[in-house]
């Protein structure tokens, strides 16, 4: 039987020094809970492939795109600056390398779903990478977490920007739970859709607000 399409999911996580302590602890727990939750969802198990890219002083793909069942959450540590530009360049390269394109004889992967979370201002040059990534066929949901993050800046990367008011464990937990439900399949809304209608996201919990 022909292999079903894969849904590539990339988590871009800010691991800069400001995340040190409770916040990074909560992110670790959040990623763990996210993976555990998805591992019991039939649709996610069938289609989702996960990858984690972290960024601090530099950016690196700490977990390559891996089938959900085989995925091991990477160890996350927080220190250093916020190389958002490098992270976006990494993402671009990973997507080009790992996501299967459609050809006349092969069904390609679904449009990648990217969750980007940052708690601060980028410390490298990021604008060009942001402009390039916005042109790509990728669904990016950017999350400005806590008071130090700039939601308007993230709008240069994607239209879908949410704000977390703080970096409390419960807030981060709710965020990762929402990420989890965004990856699972639900009934399709009756609303009109166009060829480039963005991915439909479930209503976020009260601690998360969309930036209009």
């Amino acid at each position: 039987m022909s292999e079903s399409r894969r849904l590539p999911v990339y988590l871009l996580l800010d691991c800069s020094g400001s995340m040190n302590g409770e916040p990074i602890e909560a992110v670790r727990a959040g990623v763990k809970a996210l993976i555990a939750d998805l591992k019991t969802d039939p649709q996610a198990l069938e289609t989702a492939y996960m990858s984690v890219i972290t960024f601090a002083g530099s950016a690196q793909q700490v977990a390559p795109l891996t089938e959900l069942m085989m995925f091991q959450e990477p160890h996350l540590d927080a220190s250093g600056s916020t190389s958002l530009g490098e992270a976006l360049t990494q993402l671009e390269q990973c997507v080009d390398r790992e996501v299967k394109k459609s050809t006349p004889t092969q069904k390609g992967d679904w449009k990648p779903l990217v969750f980007l979370m940052t708690d601060g201002q980028p410390t490298d040059s990021w604008e060009q990478a942001a402009d390039r990534i916005k042109q790509k066929r990728i669904n990016i949901i950017a999350c400005a977490a806590g008071p130090g993050a700039d939601a308007n800046l993230l709008k240069r990367i994607t239209e879908e920007v949410v704000i977390l008011n703080n970096l409390q464990p419960d807030t981060l937990k709710a965020f990762f739970k929402w990420v989890s439900s965004s990856i699972k399949m639900t009934s399709q809304s009756i609303q009109q859709v166009g060829p480039d209608t963005p991915v439909s996201l479930p209503p976020p919990p009260p601690t998360i607000q969309f930036v209009p």
Binding site: M1, S2, S4, R5, T40, P42, Q43, L45, E46, M69, K101, S102, T103, P104, T105, Q106, K107, G108, D109, W110, K111, R137, K177, S181, M185, T186, S187, Q188, S189, I190, Q191, Q192, V193, G194, P195, P202, P203
Partner: protein
């Protein structure tokens, strides 16, 4: 455990267990009762209670459209107490409307057999996807996978449930592997998420459906505004697409429209939109083979002529022509007729253990290619359409231990929700010959014209005719001994 009170529309107050983190679907969040016998579900949209249409819809679903309450007690027209009991098992039907603290519904908890008892997913609901996807099936413990014959059973129940909805003029509008739970270890299914049923011209659909089950014409017109007259919304006719997709998936473990054909290389999303929508093509389309998987070795024709012709009608003629799709009742009938032709494969290691014996010229199990040898009796059922004229209207393939029921004996009985499920007779291979043993038939008559009382048997011989009942509508069974 923090127990809260919910006030129902009729004034009653019930308990539910509060949770900070309740399970939530697209429309509702769910809280359990303290004893977990029912659930209280609140709509995410808190203004639902202000929407008179939604409230009227719920009210109707609980009363005049409700097949799980006898008509005499306020349920749907024509529902007898027996039928109501029967349909309670096929639907998880809401039982009350909640008005405080939020608008919602009360529904029974799914019976425990719809949760995995064993394995890594223990406690999870048995959505159909677990069983139709080869990848997910491989993750399940053996005892949860269920025998193929149980998938056949649950398809009958599923078709029956959908037939009942359609009979009342209701459309489910989102039939999918998520909204029908299945239990392949017992062969049961239950339709859930009843609260968004569609009543034509009265209550419009909330959702377009679930990817993979949305009818091509709905997907193909999704780009139009909701107000455009060309926009096609879910209805009974789109349920008539989703139902055979499910049946095809359960019986053949593959999707009828997902083949190798690529309809757009610009994106997976666009390709999907076309491949499930305007360019949808049945993987077994006999004229256009361009979407046929290379490894398709078990065509739907192995399910016998009744199901094959309905699949062709649903996925070739009716795929882009909604009015040509078979009704749910057609599926129920065809599955039942096919059930009477099912035969046990003697190969102990056969993956399916049973197959449909329809081709008497080439009797082998299509799943493991085991050839059948020996004698297989077949009963051709005939009904008296005019005095003295007997027409064949059914066929039963006999195996050791097969039971017959009233719907075999009488031509005016149907094995639906009202049927008497008491066995009337059975067949056995006994001391080197095939016999039919009477259990409850009152006027079984042997080929020689003698009555065969309950507890007595008659030997099956080629060409012999048995009168199953002398009553009005009693059938004749003509024996064919297939020598293999």
């Amino acid at each position: 455990m923090k127990v809260e009170k919910a006030t129902l529309k009729d004034g009653r107050v019930i308990d539910y267990v509060y949770s900070d983190d309740p399970p939530a679907g697209g429309m509702k969040k769910t809280y359990f009762s303290p004893d977990r016998s029912y659930v209280v579900q609140f709509f995410h949209n808190e203004s639902a209670g202000l929407d008179p249409q939604r409230m009227a819809r719920l009210e109707y679903i609980l009363t005049k459209y409700n097949p799980t309450i006898p008509h005499s007690q306020g349920g749907a027209q024509g529902v007898t107490p027996a039928a109501a009991e029967y349909f309670k098992k096929l639907f998880c039907w809401p039982t009350a409307i909640v008005v405080k603290p939020q608008v919602g519904i009360v529904a029974p908890t799914y019976p425990s057999n719809y949760f995995f008892a064993k394995g890594p997913f223990s406690g999870r609901e048995k959505e159909g996807r677990w069983f139709t996807s080869p990848k997910l099936r491989g993750m399940l413990p053996d005892e949860e996978r269920g025998a193929w014959i149980n998938y056949f059973k649950l398809c009958i129940l599923m078709a029956r449930a959908v037939r009942r909805l359609h009979m009342a003029g209701l459309a489910h509008s989102d039939l999918s592997c998520r909204n029908i739970l299945v239990d392949p270890s017992s062969g049961q299914s239950v339709v859930i998420d009843i609260d968004s049923l569609v009543v034509p011209n009265l209550f419009p659909p909330d959702v377009a459906g679930t990817p993979g089950y949305i009818a091509p014409e709905v997907l193909g017109t999704m780009h139009l505004p909701l107000t455009d007259p060309k926009r096609i919304l879910p209805s009974v006719r789109t349920d008539q697409h989703a139902l055979p997709v499910l049946i095809y998936e359960y019986l053949l473990s593959r999707h009828p429209l997902r083949g190798p054909k690529v309809n757009s290389t610009s994106s997976a999303e666009e390709d999907e939109q076309l491949s499930m929508g305007s360019k949808a093509l049945f993987v077994e389309n006999p004229q256009d083979m361009s979407n046929r998987p290379k490894d398709l070795t078990i065509p739907c024709s192995v399910l016998g002529p009744h199901l094959e012709s309905l699949f062709m009608q649903a996925f070739v003629k009716g795929l882009h022509s909604p009015n040509d799709r078979p009704a749910a009742s057609d599926w129920e009938r065809a599955l039942i007729k096919t059930w009477d032709m099912i035969y046990p494969c003697p190969n102990r290691s056969c993956s399916h253990k049973w197959f449909v014996l329809y081709d008497t010229n080439n009797v082998k199990c299509p799943f493991c290619n085991t050839r059948i040898t020996g004698t297989v009796p077949i009963l051709k059922l005939r009904k008296e359409s005019r005095p003295g004229q007997w027409f064949q209207d059914g066929k039963i393939v006999i195996y050791d231990g097969i039971y017959f029921f009233k719907w075999h004996v009488y031509d005016n009985m149907f094995p639906g929700e009202e049927a008497d499920r008491t066995p009337q007779a059975y067949c056995q291979f006994y001391q080197g010959q095939w016999i039919l043993v009477n259990k409850n038939l009152t006027s079984l008559t042997s080929p020689g014209g003698n009555r065969v009382p309950a507890g007595q048997a008659v030997v099956l011989k080629d060409g012999a005719q048995l009168r199953l009942s002398q009553d009005a509508h009693g059938r004749i069974a003509e024996v064919q001994m297939l020598q293999l």
